[in-house]
C-alpha cells in the first residue's frame, strides 16, 4: 500500500441546499506537510469532514491509499486533531485517557487495553513530551500542552493521514516550534499531514505543499509555485489586510524604522513582485545579516 490522498472533482452540498465545495481536486503524496489555506467559510472544515467520511460528496470521489474513505476509516488511517475550541476541557478525563482513546479502534468489543495499547500510549506521550503530565485532567493544561495531547492521540491511533485544525492558535512560540519539529519527523516517516490554517505567516515555515480553497480548490502544488501574492489575493478576495511599506508615512528620514505589531499571527512578507522574502526565522536572520553586509560595503 502506498500512501496517497486524492480528491477528484468533489462537490459537497448540505441538505439545506448550500453548496460548500464545488469541483474540488487535489493530490497529496506520501511524506507531505500540506497547508489548507482559505478564509472562514471557504470549505476547509467541509473538506476535513469529507475526508473523514462525515459528509458524502454529491459527486466526485476521494481515494485514500487507493481505497475509499469508508475503507480508510475501517483501517483507522485518518486521524483528526480538533481545534481547541471544539473540545470540552471540563470533561473528567486525564491526559492518559485521551491518548488511550486513540487505541479504541484497535481494541476488542469491550475496549480493554492490552500491553501493546499501553506501549503505544506511552510512546506517543513521550514523543510529544507529555509523559510527566499523563495524570493531569485535560483542563489543567496550557494551550500548547492541550494541542500536544491530541497530537499524541493521533500518534497512538497510528494515523497515517493526520488532519490538524488551526494547530497554532493560542500556542506560544516555543511550543509552536516543538510541534513543527514533530510534524517534520512525522512527514519523514512518510505520513501525510494536512493543516487547516489562516495563519499565513507560519505556512512557509513548515509546509512543503499548499492547497488554496475558496468554495473550490483554487490551486494545489508545491509551496513555491502556489503560495504567491496573486494566488493569495484570489483565495482571500480582498479580505486580507495589506500594509505597503513603500506607501508608509514613515519614510527615509526616519531611517525606515517601522514597527508592525500583530496579535498572535505571524505576518507574511512578500518582496517586490510578490516573491517570498524568507520562509522561517533562520532564513530571516541570514537575510538580515546579508543586508547589513550590503549596507556595510
Amino acid at each position: 500500500m502506498t500512501l496517497s490522498l486524492e480528491a477528484s472533482a468533489v462537490t459537497v452540498a448540505y441538505p439545506n441546499g448550500h453548496t460548500a465545495l464545488r469541483d474540488a481536486s487535489f493530490q497529496l503524496r506520501s511524506g507531505t506537510i500540506a497547508a489548507l489555506v482559505g478564509v472562514n467559510g471557504s470549505g476547509k472544515s467541509t473538506l476535513f469532514k469529507t475526508l473523514m467520511g462525515f459528509v458524502k460528496p454529491v459527486s466526485g470521489s476521494i481515494r485514500i491509499a487507493g481505497g475509499t474513505v469508508e475503507q480508510a476509516r475501517k483501517l483507522k488511517l485518518v486521524a483528526y486533531v480538533p481545534q481547541t475550541e471544539e473540545v470540552d476541557w471540563t470533561f473528567p478525563v486525564s491526559v492518559w485517557d485521551v491518548v488511550m482513546m486513540g487505541r479504541y479502534g484497535h481494541m476488542n468489543f469491550l475496549r480493554i487495553a492490552n500491553a501493546e495499547d499501553k506501549r503505544m500510549v506511552n510512546e506517543s506521550l513521550a514523543r510529544v513530551g507529555m509523559t510527566e503530565f499523563k495524570d493531569r485532567q485535560i483542563g489543567e493544561l496550557s494551550g500548547g500542552q492541550k494541542k500536544r495531547v491530541f497530537l499524541a492521540r493521533a500518534l497512538a491511533q497510528n494515523g497515517q493521514i493526520i488532519l490538524l485544525d488551526e494547530p497554532f492558535t493560542g500556542v506560544d512560540v516555543t511550543t509552536e516550534e516543538a510541534i513543527i519539529t514533530l510534524l517534520r519527523s512525522l512527514r519523514d516517516e512518510g505520513r501525510i499531514i494536512l493543516v487547516s490554517t489562516h495563519n499565513l505567516g507560519s505556512v512557509p515555515e513548515f509546509c512543503d505543499h499548499v492547497v488554496l480553497v475558496n468554495r473550490t480548490v483554487l490551486a494545489s502544488g508545491p509551496l513555491e509555485d502556489v503560495f504567491t501574492e496573486d494566488n493569495l489575493n484570489r483565495a482571500f478576495g480582498g479580505v486580507l489586510r495589506q500594509f505597503h511599506f513603500e506607501s508608509s508615512t514613515i519614510q527615509d528620514h526616519d531611517g525606515k524604522t517601522v514597527k508592525l505589531l500583530t496579535d498572535d499571527e505571524r505576518p507574511l512578507v512578500f518582496g517586490k513582485d510578490g516573491h517570498l522574502e524568507y520562509k522561517d526565522r533562520t532564513e530571516r536572520q541570514e537575510l538580515v545579516n546579508k543586508r547589513i553586509e550590503e549596507v556595510g560595503e
Binding site: P15, M52, G53, F54, R73, K74, K76, V78, A79, Y80, P82, E86, V87, D88, F91, P92, V93, S94, D97, M101, G102, Y104, G105, F109, L110, R111, Q137, G139, R153, Q157
Partner: protein
C-alpha cells in the same frame, strides 16, 4: 420511635431494594447524560412517555413497552423536526414534549379513572404491584448491563464524536443507543419517583459526583454511591414522614448535591475564589 420499624414490613424491604437498583441505573446513566449535555432531553422524554403509557394501558400491553416506545418517538421526532427546519433543538423539545404530555393528559381523562395511572405521574414504590416490579427489574438490569458493556464507547461518544467516527465507531448507532438507554432508564425509574420527577434522578447523581472528582471512572462510582444512599434515605424517611416516597427520594438527591457543594467549597476556598 423504633428506627428499625420500617424493616419489619416486607413492602418496605422490597421498596428499599428496588429503589437501590433504580438508583444505581439512574446514577450510571446520569454521568453520560450530563456530560453529553442532554439534561433537557431527559426532561423532555420523561414527560413524553405519558401518552405511551396510557395507550399501552388501554391496549392491555405492559406499560413499560408503551413508555419506551413513546420516549423513542419523542427523541426521533425532535431530531427529525430539527433537521428539517431552522428551529433550535431546545425549542423543538419544548414543543414536542409538552404536546405529547398534554396528549397523555387528555387520553388519561378519557380512560376510566384508575389509581394505577396516577402512580405513573408521582411514583408508588411502596405499593408497587408484582407485574410493575418485574418490568422495573427487567428494564433496570437490561439498561445497566448495556451501559457497562459499552461504557467506553459511550464515553468517547460524549467526549469527541469526530474522533469516535474517525476510528471507525458507528456514531449514529451510539446516538440512538444513548437515546434508547435514556428511555429505558426513565421506564426503570418511573415506578419509583414518577415521571414528573424522573429528571432529578437522571441528572442529580452525576452532577454530585462531578463536583467531587475529575475522573470518569470515579465519577461513576461516586454517583452510584450517592444515588443509592439518597434512594434508601428517601424511602426510609417517607415511612416516618408519611410523605410521597418519590418526592422524598428527590429531596434526598438534592440534599446530596447541596452537601457535595458545601464540602467542596469548604475544602478549596481559594480555588473557588480563583474561578
Amino acid at each position: 420511635m423504633n428506627w428499625l420499624a420500617p424493616l419489619q414490613y416486607p413492602f418496605m424491604v422490597e421498596a428499599l431494594l428496588v429503589s437501590a437498583l433504580v438508583g444505581t441505573v439512574c446514577a450510571v446513566f446520569s454521568c453520560y447524560l450530563i456530560l453529553k449535555g442532554w439534561s433537557l432531553m431527559g426532561d423532555a422524554i420523561s414527560h413524553a412517555v405519558l401518552p405511551g403509557i396510557v395507550i399501552a394501558y388501554m391496549l392491555g400491553l405492559p406499560l413499560a413497552v408503551g413508555a419506551f416506545a413513546a420516549g423513542l418517538l419523542c427523541a426521533l421526532s425532535v431530531g427529525w423536526i430539527k433537521s428539517s427546519t431552522r428551529i433550535k433543538e431546545d425549542t423543538v423539545m419544548g414543543i414536542v414534549f409538552t404536546g405529547m404530555f398534554a396528549l397523555g393528559l387528555v387520553l388519561f381523562t378519557k380512560v376510566q379513572t384508575d389509581a394505577h395511572l396516577n402512580h405513573i405521574l408521582f411514583g408508588n414504590i411502596l405499593g408497587i404491584e408484582r407485574e410493575d416490579m418485574i418490568q422495573t427489574l427487567i428494564a433496570s438490569a437490561a439498561t445497566l448491563i448495556i451501559i457497562l458493556l459499552k461504557r467506553k464507547d459511550l464515553m468517547l461518544f460524549c467526549f469527541d464524536v469526530a474522533h469516535a467516527r474517525a476510528i471507525g465507531l458507528n456514531t449514529a448507532l451510539l446516538h440512538y443507543l444513548l437515546l434508547a438507554l435514556l428511555s429505558s432508564t426513565i421506564v426503570a425509574s418511573m415506578q419509583a419517583v414518577g415521571i414528573i420527577l424522573v429528571v432529578a434522578m437522571l441528572v442529580t447523581p452525576g452532577c454530585t459526583a462531578r463536583l467531587l472528582t475529575d475522573r470518569f471512572d470515579r465519577m461513576l462510582l461516586i454517583a452510584t454511591a450517592s444515588s443509592v444512599l439518597a434512594c434508601c434515605l428517601g424511602v426510609y424517611a417517607s415511612f416516618f414522614l408519611n410523605a410521597a416516597t418519590g418526592a422524598c427520594i428527590v429531596l434526598a438527591q438534592a440534599a446530596m448535591f447541596a452537601g457535595a457543594m458545601l464540602w467542596k467549597n469548604m475544602r478549596s476556598p481559594r480555588a473557588q475564589a480563583g474561578t
